[in-house]
Symmetry: C2
Subunit: 449 residues, 2 copies
């Protein structure tokens, strides 16, 4: 799969430096932890496979001369302290994955962080960089939230928008708590988290805007406005084998029309201005010979503009009323997890543009549709978020792919961002913020994926 | 709810006899076991609530002078043996229910059986009936199959078409076996089942054909042809928060179109000739932020004529191909649980018509869309199956309803059927059979609900 850049490396292409080859070796090595037969990984937070890749991360950090600490929510920091007592530029992402997830999502950012930190360290040693801050590569605990909800857990605890005790007591579907999972994998840390001065993260785009435009680096200036709706469709339970069609009030048929309506509402908008989904869908009583009584489903609405999400929500609620009437069922819809647009600091975007130009690389500014650890971190320190292209725009699946060449380009730009941050370029920049003044509840929800 | 007939009873209406009042008192008493707030019952097989109503059944049988035995699959027989060594006319139904089920389905037939047996006993004592056979009221174990699949378990074991050991080792979703559930409710019997000579059952119709025609008694001459299809819709997992609509292969949207197609295929037939359903529907990975990878669902097709089911199946498979093509997903469909039309003996239908006329009551011959304990019993002894009207045709739900008047009419006709069977009227009649010669596998599947 990595044919193009690997060939470049083997043929001694002058643009591939030894440190790039080392990075690629490390990155591809991580894919063996929790590897799935179809070429993905399954490393849900707090599982044995997740513990294995994290052990590798610690060992590799040690080889690179970094010292490792783990905080109380199980986030691992690989530190390089040049300026005793100064705060840290944190550079990170996550090593956990969705079930049958892709091997690039999160892991690319952590391995790139390790190598960007090592490069900054080499620059300091060589007298090429005068550090104002220290630096650390970070593996945030439980970004995906596949096993333990909410997602983006470690960074939300770090940013103080998720309570540590609440996070530790969160349970998976089998009733295992985060605290128990951390203990069983030896990751229930006792170290204080290093104090942050700034944050940087690189991640696969998980969309196809970069791929289509042929631009290798995306610089994130904002996250999309998102919200969810919990929809309950309530019909009447009856016997599949005895109830005539006219006598039924089938919740599943009505809920199927809801799923179709959620997709069709997108047609009212310009292409790619909005995405809508139903990912969770539970049928009761879910027996082959009983006409379903109730379906509970979660609708996810995302757009760059809050007004588009609001309009889609309004159109959808109208259509749900029509379905309820036609199908003689009740449909209830409840808003939750409303997250306004978040802005990354403009100075950070400019800094990343400079770092791209330094490498002779084109960049483009775009929004992130998805949540990332950078979103809560951006609430407390100026944060810079970079994207590299995703093949076919797919992610959270085994076929996720980014080329070696694109990963190396991203690493170089990230390294430039990190050295600039270490030198103190954003020292006078405020952290980012939301388009709407949100209370504590909004803050909390920013941490969700 | 029971206003009409209760008023009749209170005002001393001459058509309501003391034994009818006793029956109604018993029937309404049973509704307290596993009662739900909305007026239904929840007495899944082998639960504490199910155990409570069965204890009542045994006590009441004892008061009526019957002796109680329990067989190895937990079916309870309340016996009256007038003719030592002669086989038994079994009269029964089931006291278990669906989750949040109705209080009439099954329970009406068991309580009516107790009182029909008591009436036959009184007739023998009074010298009005010369018994050729003995008689027993039967509460079959696990007719509904809501907790332990397959359904119609006790009578299928009795009829020899379901292996006792297989049935005992069946587990519920928590891994509890039938054997354990029977032990924990004290129902793991050691008695041999009484040898059957004939079988009679009365049940609510669970449809609205009787209600619409105003005829109080239905006599079942056949069961519908039925089959199921296991349908798997396979798309591609991706991130709801990052994957553009055009880049998705959403298994849930495709599966929703399948559910709609399953309903719409009915429009190709005359009204009420066919019923189609999807009751079971499982989404993977079922996370609010992941576009679903796969949906597995069970389609249920039923019609009076096998040719109609086959035609519906063919039309549906064509439509599934279209959905797979349009939505860029794979759809696999697998036939299972195919049950050809079963015929009840014509002599038994004639006997039931006579029993209705004896009571001055109209009757009509119809098919049963649903499975009942009478279906496997009809494979080994001549069986008679009666229906009483269901309000609005609904069942397997809390709003299920049959009036006291209709229940009393049914009890009287059932009593006539039982006395005629006890006298030996079907002694020379063969048991029923299937429209198609089925092998062992077909036999097995006849026992399913
Ligand atoms: Zn990620
Ligand atoms: Zn029943």
């Amino acid at each position: 799969m990595a044919h193009q850049a690997a060939a470049g490396a083997d043929s001694g292409d002058p643009t591939v430096r030894p440190q790039d080859r080392e990075f690629l070796r490390d990155f591809h090595h991580t894919s063996r932890y929790g590897a799935t037969p179809a070429g993905g990984i399954d490393r849900q937070a707090g599982t044995a496979e997740h513990g294995q890749v994290r052990r590798w991360f610690e060992e590799r950090a040690g080889q690179l001369g970094l010292s490792v600490v783990t905080d109380a929510i199980g986030t691992i920091y690989a530190l390089r302290e040049w300026v005793p007592g100064a705060p840290f530029v944190l550079v990170g992402s996550h090593l956990d994955s969705q079930p049958r997830g892709g091997r690039f999502d999160g892991t690319y950012g952590v391995v790139a962080a390790l190598h960007a930190v090592a490069a900054a360290d080499a620059a300091v040693s060589a007298g090429l960089l005068d550090p104002r801050y220290n630096v650390a590569a970070v593996d945030w605990f439980n970004e995906e939230g596949a096993r333990f909800a909410p997602s983006i857990m470690g960074s939300s605890v770090h940013a103080g928008i998720l309570d540590l005790e609440v996070a530790l007591q969160t349970t998976d579907p089998q009733g295992v708590t985060v605290a128990q999972a951390l203990e069983s994998t030896g990751r229930r840390g006792v170290d204080p988290a290093p104090k942050a001065a700034a944050y940087a993260e690189i991640h696969i785009e998980q969309g196809r805007r970069l791929e289509r435009s042929g631009v290798p680096i995306g610089i994130v200036d904002r996250s999309w406005h998102t919200q969810k709706l919990l929809v309950s469709v309530i019909g009447e339970q009856s016997h599949t084998g005895a109830t005539l069609m006219a006598d039924r009030r089938d919740a599943l048929i009505a809920a199927s029309h809801v799923v179709v309506a959620v997709e069709e509402v997108v047609e009212e908008f310009e292409p790619e201005t909005i995405v809508t989904s139903v990912g969770k869908f539970d049928v009761q009583p879910n027996s082959p010979i009983v006409v379903p009584r109730q379906v509970d489903l979660v609708v996810d609405l995302r757009a760059d503009r809050a007004s588009d999400v609001d309009q889609a929500r309004g159109l959808l609620l109208e259509r749900l009323q029509g379905i309820a009437r036609r199908r003689d069922v009740e449909i209830e819809a409840q808003d939750f997890d409303v997250r306004p647009v978040q802005r990354f600091p403009a100075d950070g975007v400019e800094l990343a543009e400079k770092a791209s130009r330094d490498q002779g690389v084109d960049s483009t500014v775009l929004a992130t549709l998805a949540g990332h650890d950078s979103v809560p971190m951006n609430r407390i320190v100026p944060s810079v978020m970079l994207f590299v292209p995703s093949a076919d725009g797919v992610s959270h699946c085994e076929r996720e792919f980014t080329s070696d060449e694109d990963m190396v380009t991203g690493l170089r730009v990230l390294t430039g961002v990190v050295t600039r941050l270490v030198a103190g370029e954003l020292a006078d920049t405020a952290s980012g913020g939301s388009d709407e003044s949100g209370g504590a509840a909004d803050d909390r929800e920013d941490g969700r994926g």
